[in-house]
């Protein structure tokens, strides 16, 4: 087991992302207590039941996690969705909603391209 742990540590040093780091997220507070605490208070408050249900916010978080391509967030909000009884169909629709906005954001710049093209062309 100890050898396995050493191997794990080495692997970790050579990788930007380690799933085990997600559990350590709370530790960011150790190096800046005030800001860390304010962030986690804010974060917790955001996901409480409000005008939107916690379930709806979990799906929004899952969609955004994909758009910002955060592997930790994807793990966290897939698990959160499962805990809430959210189905895989609902999760995948949320991912598509995020992806559609992201691709739309790229494509709408096509208008800029068209404007520039037209301006520069005789």
């Amino acid at each position: 087991m100890r050898i396995q742990n050493l191997f794990k540590q080495n692997a970790m040093a050579n990788s930007y992302y380690d799933p085990a780091d997600l559990r350590k997220f709370g530790k960011i507070t150790e190096w800046s207590e005030e800001l860390g605490t304010k962030f986690f208070d804010y974060y917790g408050k955001v996901f409480e039941e409000g005008a939107l249900s916690a379930r709806e916010k979990s799906l929004i978080a899952l969609a955004v996690s994909h758009v910002v391509k955060c592997p930790y967030c994807i793990d966290a909000y897939t698990k959160d969705g499962l805990q809430r009884g959210i189905t895989k169909e609902e999760m995948m629709e949320a991912v598509h909603a995020g992806a559609a906005i992201e691709s739309g954001a790229t494509l709408v710049h096509g208008v800029q391209m068209m404007n520039k093209y037209n301006k520069l062309s005789m």
């Binding site: 087991m1 559990r23 916690a54 379930r55 698990k79 959160d80 499962l82 809430r84 009884g85 189905t87």
Partner: protein, 360 residues
């Protein structure tokens, strides 16, 4: 065009039928006490409850007698902590039932809770229910997997039988969608469960204001913890009413404890470490005072006494002079230390977990 064919999921077999090493309670305890806990990566449950002065864990007033009348079951759920299945032969005899009845007639407990396996598969089940119902205990629960009612014509009249004896039916339903339920419990179990719920509703079970109590048990279908019980209850109620016109009273969200077939699943799917971290992270000191072993005695098919059904499966008999139903004495039993191990984190995670749902 080439199409990917989904491989048919092999049917779950009991650990006992597979002769798996996890069929041994000692092997399970070795795993639970080793690994992350032995290495000091995670604190032991004993250390955690010592911090708040709850070690040794002691019983409060006895409220619930939970009797496991046998490990035989018509289905073989992937997560079953009993390792129940059609091939299990451990069945309570009438002799042991007589001893249980004597206890039921004299107990201070207000709730009698029959479980299994599928308790209905014990050949003496109906006689036992009839006799136990006469003792006039306030809340008489039978934990039914629902699908048993549709499994064979001889079980079809169970809804009437339950009604006749004013039995409180508590039924497992992992999810309100067919896919998730059948994946955990086997093909066809969802449809059979829905049919059984409709029949119970027809007898008046689960209707608002009805004395015929029908509660559902939700437990996660995978390596994650249950979400908020009230939110899940509301989702189950809306979905079952909208899709099938089904009504029920309450939903109990129960955490899967890392023992038996669920432990096997966690290890095989490489989720064991993460699940133990999740349980320890979710430890709620506020749940400790009301964990179910503080108000429950669990009796096995062969009459031994345990702090809970999980300890029963781990072979951890009560730490008391009275260890068997034949010597039952409530005062002596209540003066005992409850036996704990790392699986106990399952009952203190989040809002806590018990056979009656959350505790905190």
């Amino acid at each position: 065009m080439h199409q990917l064919k989904k491989a048919k999921k092999p049917k779950t077999k009991t650990l006992h039928a597979r002769k798996d090493e996890l069929a041994s309670a000692n092997r399970q305890l070795e795993i639970l006490n080793g690994g992350l806990f032995a290495e000091g990566e995670l604190p032991s449950f004993k250390d955690k409850i010592s911090e708040i002065g709850h070690f040794p864990l002691r019983p409060n007033r006895l409220e619930i007698l939970q009797i496991n009348v046998g490990y035989m079951c018509n289905i073989t759920c992937e997560h079953c902590h009993v390792d129940a299945g059609p091939g299990r032969k451990e069945i309570m005899t009438t002799e042991t039932m007589e001893m249980c009845l004597e206890v039921i007639r004299n107990t201070g407990a207000h709730t009698l809770d029959l479980t299994g396996g599928a308790p209905e598969m014990n050949p003496h089940f109906r006689w036992f229910v009839e006799e136990a119902a006469k003792a006039g205990i306030k809340d008489f629960i039978v934990r039914s997997n629902l699908s048993i009612i549709m499994a064979h014509p001889k079980f079809r009249d169970l809804p009437d039988f339950f009604k006749e004896h004013n039995v409180h039916v508590v039924s497992s339903l992992p999810h309100y969608t067919r896919g998730k339920t059948d994946k955990q419990r086997g093909d066809g179990v969802f449809d059979a469960s829905i049919q059984a719920l409709l029949e119970l509703n027809e007898r008046g079970y689960g209707k608002p204001g009805s004395d015929l109590r029908l509660d559902l048990v939700y437990n996660p279908s995978g390596a994650f913890l249950p979400g908020d019980q009230a939110a899940l209850e509301s989702d189950f109620k809306n979905a079952l009413l909208e899709d099938f016109g089904i009504l029920f009273h309450s939903l109990f969200a129960i955490t899967n404890l890392p023992i038996s077939r669920f432990l096997d699943y966690l290890i095989a799917s490489d989720n064991y470490d993460d699940y133990m971290y999740a349980l320890v992270d979710a430890y709620n000191p506020g749940a400790v005072a009301n964990v179910m072993c503080t108000n429950t005695i669990s009796i096995s098919w062969d009459g031994w006494l345990y702090d809970c059904d999980f300890n029963q499966m781990l072979g951890l008999k009560v730490a008391s002079k009275v260890k068997h139903i034949k010597d039952y004495n409530e005062d002596i039993l209540n003066d005992r230390n409850i036996i704990i191990s790392q699986h106990c984190y399952g009952c203190t995670a989040g809002a806590g977990s018990s056979c009656q749902g959350t505790v905190a």
